[in-house]
Symmetry: C2
């Protein structure tokens, strides 16, 4: 078999089931697939059409961001340090009401640029105009699971909910069998979606066997509100409606009861943990150590970067590892290896892409990043996993390959024209600033 | 007056008392001093011997790291996710017992490289072989307050405590009137220093009018132990011994009572907040909003990077801003402006360098950094302060000037030979790895 790309001369972390590592390893790619992973000497370099030299750095699976509102890059830093409702109602909602497909495409492309440059190769998005998100991800060469946000009230995009469900079905049809983009059904939350909408969303997800993505129990206030309205927690409510399944990705899960955790485990629901957003919005701290102990698959996400304010999953791993240590007063919880799994293979499993990405294994798609460790803050290196979680930042990503395509090499993007994008984004920023009176 | 350096074409954040900003501003430097700050058109460029173009980025005071053990860069990631005592006794103490002045010089130079590359221009250090730390900082051109750690038991460096006090006095003598390095007296903590040692340390600090740096109330366990031994909290103990003064820099201050906070305020003690280390070691969360409310001067520090594991103060600001929001469940506490002050002007005030550094003002020493904001994750920019805390990372620092010397331009270090340093550090790392059986 011809080798199109060989990534060599690095420490290979496969993140496979046996957690195999190769101190001086290489990964061979043919077309969109990984065709070899192992010690460098076992993978002949002669035949490779292209070689990326990791220069002694780390070769690993690309990171997976399981919860984003990518186009919110346009609103980063527009309004911070405010009470949640003032932030949403006085700043974010008015700005979002003026969005259109072109702006969402531009904002998502900007997010893709940031994600590629910080080592993320796959993201799961919930927002408006998701057709534009899908196209932007496709054009940037980034793997994505996208879905139009659905709720009871009219959307600034599609209007009434019937049209939102139609739009979702059209997205499913349009992107069927795409190598990079897949579609999810994405009702916003149990508190913004009536039981009927939730059940219809689940039905579409089941029929097409695609993910169902939803915000769940992000704050205690939301749980209190749901208890008042339905007499049960959001998780119990979803359970009673038949929404708990291995296809469900429950984002946030901050305010959970023991019964909630059992329900999530029993139905093999996936949890997307978004620690930085939960901290910045003062939502609370999700019981991640308990979820992991119960055997729940927990993945990592940044949330929209307006509530973060970045899409750097390396920073998010660091925060996750530290936050739960101080929250439990136990320095051994969420060790570096556990957090790395959340951001790689368990992210893939959460999105139903466990056979596609999230680890370096022969037969999987080639979603691979290279970390440059020849830097003062990464020298010496005793344990690569420790560096990746506690010291590496997105800016240390030197190269990125997605589905076999080199989308970044030597920190240069190959699929996005940065200069043109910056000019366009600054123009959109000026418009938003004028409208918001900033 | 001749202008040696003009930094122009940026948004200037002065961090002065009026918090002045100039949207299109410049800073003029002559020798080691700032001689002009203002709108670009008021500062003639013609005469400048050298010009740094900020390209529309941010021009601001260099960040100040008020608590480090710089040479612990050598042990970064050597042992993580362990119980505190196992980490210290099985890994860190044995490794430290084999340190010497050369290794500490190399490790500190490495820390200086990381700090310069991440926008820090001044640090306050506590460790062994501080003469070597002082020399490394001086050679790297980094402003530093350094002091040999003092405790009751023999030191791997100086042996018995009498020699430690002598060593401190010799450091004071040697570095008197140095433009970059100044000396502090640094008893480790109330629990490792007997009352007599603490009083002698305070006496040296008072006589020479130099900072007294100490770890205080880092964990609840330490406070319990002190209560058992002395019948009072560490802060009350220090108060009774006469150690509380405006010269005292109390590091950590995680486990404080209301009375402790009042004592710290009444004596104008400075607090160094080290959130990431406190999180990673599961020590707890310092009551920073209460301290600020009481009017205590709170500065920021990373602690040694073995318990962090980096020296990036931009990341530390982000963590500080978010941690206290989630801890108080109030998204408005520790806003971006408050956190920026902690890392700049209040850091300078804490170290007794309020007239020297920490803000861009005519007459102060020229400690200035430039942030490159022409990046996907910093575009658009609505509020520079928000970006600096929530989105900028150390790797966005484009240039750094300390005491008028350009120590970094276009991410290239001018005072440190990175290649030679890396080779030396890898060799030391090999030695440490072999000894530790890693």
């Amino acid at each position: 078999m011809s080798i199109d790309l060989l990534i060599r001369n690095g420490i290979v972390l496969t993140m496979d089931e046996e957690d195999r590592k190769f101190d001086r390893g290489a990964v061979a790619v043919s077309g969109d697939a990984i065709v070899g992973v192992g010690p460098e000497e076992t993978l002949a370099a002669e035949g490779a059409a292209r070689v990326i030299d990791a220069r002694g750095g780390i070769i690993m699976p690309g990171l997976i961001n399981t919860h984003t509102h990518a186009a919110m890059t346009l609103f980063r830093g527009l309004a911070d340090d405010l009470p949640l409702m003032e932030w949403l109602q006085d700043h974010i909602f008015p700005a979002e009401a003026r969005l259109d497909a072109d702006k969402v495409y531009a904002g998502t492309t900007l997010a893709c640029a940031e994600m590629i440059l910080s080592g993320t190769t796959c993201f799961c998005d919930m927002y408006l105009f998701e057709g534009a998100v899908a196209q932007a991800a496709r054009d940037a060469g980034v793997r994505a699971v996208v879905g139009e946000v659905l709720y009871d009230f009219p959307s600034p995009h599609y209007g009434p909910i019937e049209k939102g469900l139609d739009y979702t079905l059209r997205l499913i049809e349009k992107w069927r069998d795409d190598p990079l983009v897949s579609i999810a059904v994405e009702p916003h939350s149990p508190y913004l979606c009536a039981p009927d909408l939730l059940k219809r969303a689940e039905s579409i997800s089941r029929t097409h066997d695609i993910p169902l993505v939803i915000h769940v129990s992000e704050t205690k206030g939301e749980v209190d509100q749901m208890r008042e309205r339905y007499g049960k927690t959001p998780v119990a409510h979803l359970s009673d409606l038949g929404l708990l399944s291995p296809r469900l990705i429950a984002c946030h899960c901050v305010a959970l009861t023991q019964d909630d955790i059992s329900l999530l485990r029993d139905h093999n629901v996936k949890v997307s943990h978004n620690p930085e957003s939960n901290m910045k919005l003062a939502s609370g701290i999700a019981p991640i150590p308990e979820l992991l102990k119960a055997g729940v698959c927990v993945a990592l996400g940044t949330d929209g970067c307006s509530s973060n304010n970045n899409l750097d999953l390396f920073g998010e791993m660091d925060t996750a590892a530290k936050l739960h240590k101080v929250n439990t007063l136990d320095p051994t919880v969420l060790d570096a290896g556990a957090v790395l799994r959340m951001a790689t293979i368990d992210g893939a499993r959460a999105l139903g892409l466990g056979d596609i990405t999230g680890s370096l294994e022969t037969g999987k798609r080639a979603d691979i990043i290279v970390i440059d460790t020849d830097k003062p803050h990464l020298t010496p290196m005793y344990h690569p996993e420790s560096h990746l979680v506690y010291a590496v930042r997105g800016s240390d990503a030197a190269a990125s390959v997605i589905n076999g395509q080199v989308v970044m090499a030597d920190r240069q993007l190959t699929t996005i024209d940065r200069t043109a994008l910056s000019a366009q984004i600054r123009e959109i920023g000026r418009e938003i600033r004028e409208f918001n009176g900033n």
